[in-house]
Subunit: 359 residues, 2 copies
């Protein structure tokens, strides 16, 4: 990341702080620290509204933080005096916003600085992070390509008798060999009846003829993530498998063109949900349609029937309807999609037509 960009991000935050009459913002969420400073190890970033930000890190991370967070003031601390260093700095403020604090720190601040008004305001930073700039989008494009390569490698190895964890190994190997820092979240390879678990993880179960195999994976590239699901069918599908698959795929594809500037998260969710409802599977779609993706795999904005979000250019979201029938099996199809002013752009592009997922 260019230093100028990082400094710009902190300056934008400072402008928001001034507008909201906040004296300083204390950042502890590691993805937020990486967003502002590029530091992968920092633990506390204090951003006063009108003086230079200070990144505080444990002694052992001082050198890497200095090298990564160029342009930032970096201080190291030993665990014993972190709290006193912090209170010394913030005692001058009337109020302090934060993104995330351990309860122990929160209550200690209350005791030591009773006049300080503490405000949990994570949305101030999310407002910046949810709109990705071109540098971020390029990293996310690459994260999407890495997920595509991983899924292709997994499909190659998907035969009767192979174990779920062996498939996860192939996918992870390819994405990392091609430059991913690692997976974007714990891989899920859900086969047979296990495909009815939306969050299934990986076991030693062997793949059998007749299985749905729902694979949820993503790659992390320079901090940025992708998120993709494909459901494979082992052998010729039954009528019911065919129907469930086609309904989910239709829902996923119908939502795609709706992922555009100005659409509400509630609307996009509804487009997919109504297709599943009309096919008679509404009670088996037990989660929301999608979530933001970026430095974390679950971020704002949300595509759900509870969402108050309106999509903006630069948002990146997942589109992932599913049908999960306990004791039988389940299907999910998911892509990571960029809300661009030119229309939706898929970052994950692996094949998903019914005849392409039969192995």
């Amino acid at each position: 990341m260019q230093d100028v960009l990082k400094e710009m991000r902190a300056k934008i935050l400072q402008r928001h702080l001034k507008e909201a009459n906040i004296d300083a913002f204390l950042i502890m969420r590691s993805s937020n620290i990486r967003y502002f400073t590029a530091s992968t190890g920092g633990s506390h970033l204090l951003v006063p509204s009108d003086t230079a930000p200070v990144l505080m890190v444990p002694k052992l991370d001082y050198n890497i933080a200095k090298d990564q967070a160029r342009g930032f003031d970096v201080k190291d601390y030993s665990r014993a005096d972190l709290f006193s260093q912090l209170t010394e700095t913030i005692k001058a403020y009337a109020n302090l916003a934060f993104d995330d604090l351990p309860v122990s720190t929160y209550t200690k601040f209350h005791e030591e600085l009773p006049a300080l008004r503490l405000e949990l305001r994570p949305e101030i930073v999310w407002g910046q992070r949810r709109v990705k700039d071109e540098g971020e989008l390029n990293k996310m494009r690459r994260a999407g390509e890495l997920a595509d390569m991983a899924m292709a490698a997994l499909k190659e190895k998907l035969v009767e008798g192979v174990r779920e964890y062996e498939l996860a190994a192939e996918a992870t190997y390819v994405m990392m060999r091609e430059g991913a820092e690692g997976y974007a979240f714990d891989n899920s390879v859900a086969s047979g009846q296990r495909s009815a678990y939306p969050h299934a993880g990986v076991t030693d179960r062997k793949i059998r003829r007749g299985d749905f195999v729902t694979v949820d994976l993503g790659a992390t590239y320079v901090g940025y993530r992708s998120d993709m699901t494909r459901t494979f069918i082992v052998g010729q599908p039954s009528e019911e498998q065919r129907k469930i698959y086609e309904v989910v795929l239709e829902a996923e594809k119908a939502a795609l063109p709706e992922i555009k500037v100005g659409a509400s998260g509630k609307h996009v969710d509804g487009v997919a949900r109504r297709i599943i409802e009309a096919a008679g599977y509404s009670k088996y779609f037990t989660h929301s349609l999608g979530h933001g993706v970026g430095l974390e795999v679950h971020e704002p904005p949300s595509l759900s029937d509870q969402s108050g979000d309106i999509l903006e250019a630069g948002n990146v979201v997942s589109d992932e309807p599913g049908i999960y029938i306990y004791g039988y099996g389940g299907v999910r199809v998911e892509d990571t999609v960029h809300v661009s002013s030119g229309g939706p752009e898929r970052f994950t592009r692996f094949e998903k037509e019914l005849d392409e997922v039969i192995v």
Copy 2:
């Protein structure tokens, strides 16, 4: 995990709660939920001191939670009514201990239930978790073997010109192909001057002749982790490289027999630290000697000069001295060690003599 064992763990917690006059314990840390229930997805486990525990999960995780947390009462919630369900249940209590709470939940409890005394008491659960039973130790032995296999595969590929991330890919591939759920933490492959960063991560840097290559990796097996570091030297080492390596290795080996029942964490740290001090490198050993390992990669007890911990049978800790010279390079050697009544047992056993790490 056997159901009887899981129920026993909850019963032991309930006994501790009664002794401490705590009405109920609210568990939110996912590793703690896994420890008590075997559920990998649960979000809130409420353990009253004298009635049956209740595991609360989001609707989409209900079925997997029911299947994993056998013997436990499982309830699902929609996000909108989680908080009201929780307050309905806990309003009868005079006090509620917890392991971890978001500040937003903590302050909402304070507002809605002003009479309820909230107590941050993570140490009650850590007291149980830090002493591993035989089933846990067996999983950790396997996690150690998987780390050994991964390091061997990485060493095979360690030649001039290969990139750090390619080495990380090989290590991850082998541990996962052999049954790991994934890596225990983000791999670190720190080559050349980057080896002076204790937490270095992985980049696209190419390995060069003369490099130290410090590799920190671990595997997760059924939730349990291993943690191992080896430093390789590419080509014949210089006199200084040789000396630094031998000092670190001597410190690591000297601490090993001290990792025994009744030893203090401060004592064990001191044994390694004095060797590094005597060799003149004290200011380059910028972290503590070790930490507990289990369902998380950093747990109690601690081996450090600030530690108040006394080692007990069933503890598992890392032993990881290091010397980090900024602008030059660094060396760390680390094993995961079980504090058994029969003496220290290494879970990671990959070779580490100087002539074995020259590639």
